[in-house]
């Protein structure tokens, strides 16, 4: 029944069409990579449940043939309002990409000298010397069909380059919006963030789309952190419940760098997030946290991979899931400790709250340890709301729905509290309350 490979010739066909349409664009130097990426995709196609990493996540709907490249799908009539998703120009540098095309960049006049924060389309031709050494160097184009597909079509996204020892106070936020349309569309956001030695910044990434729209976002981010660099990254996935979201992140960390990457995943019919960190240097500290919320028929899948290449590094991972309705969660957390990575200190946890009898979770830690002097712990739990706690709240006058919401919120709180960027934290809190029964009252009492 399930195929070995899910080829998608229509997507390959769209590449030719799209190439003609964009021939005026001046980033020809990258065309060879695109060509080889699309031929690789033509060979390996879309992953299928036959592959270990996709056992629980059937991406066959992506091969359906109806997804049309968003740039050639034509104009949309109704435009989604970006404001509810933005933080405001005074809080963040705001960049909006709508339907795969750049819509706006807020005035970034006060950026420190030498910092480059531009749309990828601009970087491809104006900052080739910064882009070329890194773009498509970390994504597994040979082995992952959807990474290859993204690379073939990459055009718009966020490019950031922070020079040595520069601290960017203002966070940078990129919002990817998908409007409703007559056709099912696919877009390929692509980000590249390079922090030189000692650089420091916060990047926010948001995805949203029309509630009624069926579309597919295939996004990929590559990150390079130089020595002692620090990046806090928050990804907020609020796609339509009919959408498909395939997100992939690859970070290469050098000595003593610090990365915190948070994945908040509330939307999509199927969301698949791959987070891959390569710890290549001593004294690195990495945090990977996530919160996913599934309802109805949603499937939310996180595959994380921490590659401890060097000694004396620390990784901390904490993912929590709340699943209601018939939703499914998948968590696969792999930690690889290579032979030289002595004194590795790795902790991984995945806790899940199942709120209905029909919700399910497949959670699996995967530890591969080749060094002998390491500290690695992992734990996964699956549970329901505690009846005693519910009764205790009810016995104090709180109705059952509200009591449930308080407990669910407390469960999520552990992750929410870690979102250092306050406007993001209160947004997530508020979105969480919106999804909980009786949550609006809680919002007021906060």
């Amino acid at each position: 029944m399930t195929k070995e490979k899910e080829s998608a010739p229509h997507l390959v066909g769209q590449f030719e069409q799209w190439k003609l349409a964009r021939s005026a664009n001046g980033s020809g130097w990258f065309d060879a990579v695109r060509e080889s990426a699309i031929s690789r995709f033509a060979e390996i196609g879309i992953p299928t449940p036959k592959m270990e990493d996709y056992r629980f996540t059937n991406l066959a709907p992506l091969a359906r043939g109806s997804f049309q490249h968003i740039a050639i799908a034509g104009d949309n009539k109704n435009k989604l309002d970006p404001d509810p998703y933005l933080y405001g120009d005074s809080t963040a540098v705001e960049i909006v990409v709508r339907n795969g095309c750049l819509e706006s960049v807020s005035a970034a006049g006060d950026l420190p000298e030498g910092v480059v924060v531009v749309p990828l389309s601009e970087a491809l031709h104006s900052y080739r010397e910064l882009v070329e050494p890194h773009l498509a160097q970390y994504a597994p184009i040979e082995s992952e069909g959807l990474a290859a597909l993204n690379t073939a079509f990459l055009e718009e996204g966020l490019f950031v380059h922070v020079p040595r020892n520069v601290i960017l106070q203002k966070p940078v936020h990129i919002l990817y919006l998908t409007d409703p349309g007559d056709r099912e569309t696919v877009s390929y956001p692509r980000n590249l963030w390079i922090l030189e030695e000692g650089a420091d910044l916060t990047i926010l990434e948001s995805y949203a789309g029309d509630r009624e729209a069926t579309y597919w976002t295939n996004t990929l981010t590559e990150i390079v952190l130089g020595e002692n660099a620090a990046l806090r990254h928050y990804k907020l996935q609020l796609e339509s419940e009919k959408a498909y979201h395939i997100g992939r992140l690859h970070a290469k960390q050098e000595r003593a760098s610090r990365l915190s990457t948070y994945s908040i995943s509330f939307g999509s019919r199927i969301a698949r997030n791959d987070v891959n960190l390569a710890l290549e240097g001593e004294g690195i500290h990495s945090i990977m946290d996530g919160l996913y919320l599934g309802d109805n028929d949603q499937l939310i899948d996180h595959h994380t991979f921490v590659d401890h290449v060097s000694p004396n590094c620390e990784s901390r991972e904490n993912y929590k899931g709340i699943l209601s309705g018939k939703s499914k969660g998948v968590f696969n957390g792999k930690i690889l400790v290579r032979r030289d990575a002595q004194k590795t200190d790795a902790v991984q946890t995945n806790r899940n709250l199942l709120l209905s009898d029909h919700a399910t979770i497949n959670t699996k830690p995967q530890l591969e340890i080749y060094a002998d002097d390491v500290k690695c712990t992992h734990g996964a739990t699956i549970g329901q709301l505690d009846r005693e706690s519910l009764f205790y709240l009810q016995a104090r006058g709180i109705d059952k729905d509200t009591a449930r919401s308080i407990l669910i919120n407390a469960f999520a709180g552990e992750i929410v509290e870690r979102l250092e960027f306050e406007p993001m934290r209160s947004r997530v809190e508020s979105l969480l309350y919106d999804r909980l029964p009786g949550g609006s009252a809680l919002k007021e009492w906060r």
Binding site: R387, F391, L393, A395, I398, D399, I406, L407, E414, W445
Partner: protein, 256 residues
């Protein structure tokens, strides 16, 4: 205020309450004693509306209403407060937030306006210092990592904040040190007034020296087998429960 008639309840297949009769009038303090496992907590929890305790017979009238028809939260809003024998830990919910949620829920139920945050905080701090409680507990998760005594005091603190009409205290004295017992008893006595009633579940005569009851009942194997005045507690202390059980074997269950 509270009238319990022939109340029967079970957990799973096990019948625990086998026909309880008890009447408590406004202004009264009743003590409920009895051996471990006799059903005291079951009665207390059943009155508060715990679903796991299935009522299989009898009636409970509270202020003229059929109590058994009310959801647990509505019973609380109508003025019933249960101080749990084993207060529940709720990680991630601060005591302050918990209380605010409770008071707001009650205000909403009665159509009163939401309370002012500053007034609330001031009141909470006052009640805490009355109970000689550390105010840092307000900002900690409900009962999480609280000492046994702190948990019991936290129940009395909540009671003081929520200002119930009928307070049911399930072994609130167990695990309290001598000073704390006194402080807690003072807290309960402050609540004593002609419009309120209190049911104290305890194993110890000592608490009843501080909170002097109007009536004392002995529960044994799901029935009230003896009732009397405050001197009954003293007698029990001297003679143990076997004495009452033997007596009860011959006669039909006593009614208060």
């Amino acid at each position: 205020m509270l009238e319990i008639k022939e109340l029967k309840a079970r957990i799973g297949d096990k019948e625990i309450l086998k026909g309880i009769n008890l009447t408590i009038r406004a202004g009264e303090v009743h003590a409920l004693m009895g051996p471990n496992g006799s059903g005291k907590s079951t009665l207390a929890q059943a009155l508060a509306g715990r679903e796991e305790y299935e009522v299989t017979g009898g009636e409970v009238t509270y202020e003229g209403k059929n109590l058994l028809d009310l959801a647990p939260e509505d019973r609380a809003c109508e003025g019933i407060f249960l101080a749990f024998q084993y207060p529940v830990e709720i990680p991630g919910v601060s005591t302050l937030y918990f209380l605010k949620a409770a008071m707001n829920a009650m205000n909403k139920y009665h159509g009163r306006s939401a309370l002012d945050a500053m007034d609330f905080l001031a009141l909470a701090k006052k009640k805490m210092s009355d109970l000689n409680m550390d105010q840092s507990l307000l900002h900690r998760s409900v009962n999480e990592g609280f000492s046994g005594g702190e948990k019991k005091k936290n129940e009395i603190f909540q009671m003081a904040m929520l200002d119930p009409k009928l307070a049911i205290l399930d072994e609130t004295d167990s695990g309290l040190d001598i000073d704390a017992l006194r402080i807690v008893a003072d807290g309960v006595n402050r609540l004593r007034d002609p419009a309120r009633a209190i049911l104290v579940v305890t194993h110890y005569q000592r608490l009843l020296e501080y909170i002097v009851p109007d009536r004392v009942h002995v529960l044994s194997d799901g029935r009230i087998v003896k009732s009397g005045g405050k001197e009954l507690a003293l007698e029990l202390e001297k003679r143990g429960y076997s004495w009452v059980k033997e007596q009860a074997g011959d006669t039909s269950p006593a009614v208060s």
